[in-house]
């Protein structure tokens, strides 16, 4: 049995660590690439969500590399994500691939089935070792998330473009190699030292927040490296979603340090009900970013994404009321890199202008999204 799973930001380190720790065979799908997207778009349904297509592409590439057991989280909506696993299974089977799809569902009624599936996946290893492996991997995930956050905060100060990104890559490798809690502690110090030692310059700061659909916020290849682009444009960046928010479904946001509920309350003035996905957080966190003194918010949205479409319809109202500029970036297989780069640049300028004009009324006409 060769297990695989789709990419999503740093998820590979976390899942990989679990299986390494347990000594279970796994296959890492090749890194996200244009080919991943093409495969996914070719086999995927016409206007399905963008992440469904890209993860489908991951699955196909993983199967090509020898994987035969595919893990995917499933659920009950109201969004489409809960039905990904089933849809992808159908598509891949019809395309003639040989594999087994293992959907992991975490609603109470499905727990027994999920436990049975986990039992198969661990292939005779003890439950205790699985628990330990997951716990250890979560610790790594938490550290990675904090490192990523550090990178977001300091990238705009880089003396040489790309230095922070390179440092972050080194840190990933360090965390990946950590074999015990004690080692992890040492690595934490070392990694942060690496991050802090990146040569900096003095720069005027402009703060931009990123909100949006979970997958797209976390997956740098498919969000066209928005974080890095913004950082290179001179923005101090924060995003509202980290991987550990998802791995610890308790409503806690360990990295950002507030609870999801706080964000929901802030959204209430504009969106009075949960709409699945991250719809309500995109609205609530835009308010939150404004309250924290950010100068602009970028919303990342996969084309046809339902919750983000709702958020996108409502954000102009938020923007008008609070006076914070919001840029919605809609991404699908047709999105051009150059177009997004230009818009991000213009947007950063707008945010900077607003910061300078602070106190005075700046003209915040939104550009039409494409």
């Amino acid at each position: 049995m060769k297990i695989s799973w789709p990419h999503m930001g740093s998820l590979e380190f976390v899942m990989g660590s679990v299986f390494e720790e347990m000594g279970v065979d796994y296959v890492l799908p090749p890194p996200n690439s244009q080919r991943t997207l093409e495969l996914g778009a070719r086999h995927g349904p016409e206007f399905a969500c963008f992440p469904l297509k890209t993860t489908l592409g991951n699955f196909i590439e993983a199967i090509e590399k020898g994987a035969d057991t595919l893990i995917m989280v499933a659920g009950r909506g109201p969004c489409r994500f809960g039905y990904y696993a089933e849809t992808q299974r159908r598509i891949l089977e019809e395309a003639g691939y040989d594999f087994r799809m293992v959907p992991l569902e975490f609603e109470p009624a499905k727990i027994p089935a999920t436990l049975r599936r986990l039992h198969d996946l661990k292939q005779g290893r003890s439950w205790l070792s699985l628990y330990r492996a997951i716990k250890f991997a979560l610790n790594k995930a938490y550290l990675i998330d904090r490192l990523e956050r550090q990178a977001l905060h300091q990238r705009y100060l880089d003396r040489e473009k790309g230095a922070t990104t390179a440092a972050l890559k080194r840190c990933y490798a360090l965390v990946w190699d950590a074999g015990s809690y004690a080692a992890l502690d040492g690595i934490e110090e070392e990694a942060f030292a690496i991050m802090h030692s990146v040569p900096r310059v003095e720069r005027e700061e402009v703060k931009i927040g990123i909100v949006g659909e979970f997958y797209l916020v976390l997956e740098p290849f498919f969000n066209l490296n928005v974080e890095e682009q913004l950082g290179n444009l001179g923005a101090y960046v924060e995003r509202n979603i980290y991987l550990t928010d998802w791995l610890r479904p308790s409503g806690e946001r360990p990295v950002l340090g507030h609870r999801e509920h706080a964000s929901e309350l802030l959204a209430m003035a504009y969106l009075t009900h949960k709409v699945g996905g991250e719809g309500i957080f995109s609205v609530g966190d835009t308010v939150l970013f404004h309250n924290q003194g950010f100068d602009g918010v970028v919303q990342l949205m996969p084309f046809t994404c339902m919750p983000e479409t709702i958020a996108k319809s409502i954000l102009p109202l938020v923007s008008r009321d609070l006076g914070i500029p919001v840029l919605s970036v809609v991404i699908d297989e047709m999105t051009g890199r150059a177009g997004v780069a230009t818009r991000l640049e213009a947007f950063t300028d707008l945010a900077r202008f607003r910061r300078r004009a602070h106190g005075r009324e700046a003209d915040l006409t939104l550009q039409p999204a494409f």
């Binding site: 349904p45 016409e46 206007f47 399905a48 969500c49 499933a74 009950r76 909506g77 109201p78 969004c79 489409r80 809960g82 039905y83 696993a85 089933e86 849809t87 159908r90 598509i91 019809e94 959907p103 504009y270 969106l271 009075t272 009900h273 949960k274 709409v275 699945g276 996905g277 719809g279 949205m301 084309f303 046809t304 994404c305 339902m306 919750p307 479409t309 709702i310 996108k312 319809s313 409502i314 102009p316 109202l317 809609v330 999204a369």
Partner: protein, 329 residues
Amino acid sequence: MKVGIPGGLLYYRYGRLWNSFLRALGAEVVESGQTTRSILTSGVSKAENESCLAVKVFYGHVLALQDKVDALFVPRLVSVKKRTHTCPKMLGLPDMARAATGDGSTIISPTIDFQSGLWHNYKAVYSLGRIFTSNPLRIIGAGIKAWREHRLYLERLTLGLDHKSALEGEAGSLLCEGRELRIGVIGHHYNVYDTFTTMSLLERLGGMGVDAVTADMVPEKLRDEELKRLPKDIYWSYEQEVAGAILACSRHRLVDGIIFMISFPCGPDSIIRVLCEQENKAIGNVPMLTLVMDEHTGEGGFLTRIEAFVDMLRRRKVRNEEPREAIAV
């Protein structure tokens, strides 16, 4: 108080219910009526480009009513059946309507959610009633009256009346009259009964001498049976109806062909479509035409596709009815 009911989305299912309830409470009800070209155009220009056609049309209706009424009635239907949800866009609809009017209109939006039990819904309806009257009996009376009319309306749909004649309560002609060819026209209510966005598909089929079967006309029992067979249950209320109807039509050969009406780019339908196409192939292999409608769909191309599909079904039917020996030779 003048209350406006936008004639889009779930209006095509609960319009009668809402209208009679509000009127029985003493509100003056204004409906935006049929979708028109100008409603569509204003909706398209106001709504997000990524929204589905149905939501864009709804925006148009909201804008058409906005200045004519004191409040807009946009209920939030979270769940109409245990363990299911409606589409996320319906969960956010009142807030989207508010954004569409630029926060300029009062929106009345009771939250109906069958996951939280009957009591919650009773309270929601009751407090809706309190906006208009302080007489509890009147509210309950209005509720019962409206519910009766709603049941009657739904029953008429199952008998094969289209939306309009079911509202008016008179059957000029039935969709299904026992003509030679029968086609299932399946999709969300608003994708099937809105005569403007569907370019009067139902009427046109009638004109071509074809019977139409809508999801409402497929017995609920058959639909539920199909849903139980699925490896993973569908958790969208209205999607259950659509998928159940398509699969039942396919398994029991209720129809000669199926037209699946989708509004671009509908989230749930994009997923259900994969399921329906695959399962249909496996169980009945009934010819299926998926029509994805958006604001650019031209009448010419649309008609050509329908005609070609009907012709194909006719030829197929004739061929299948030829005596077997003739084919064997």
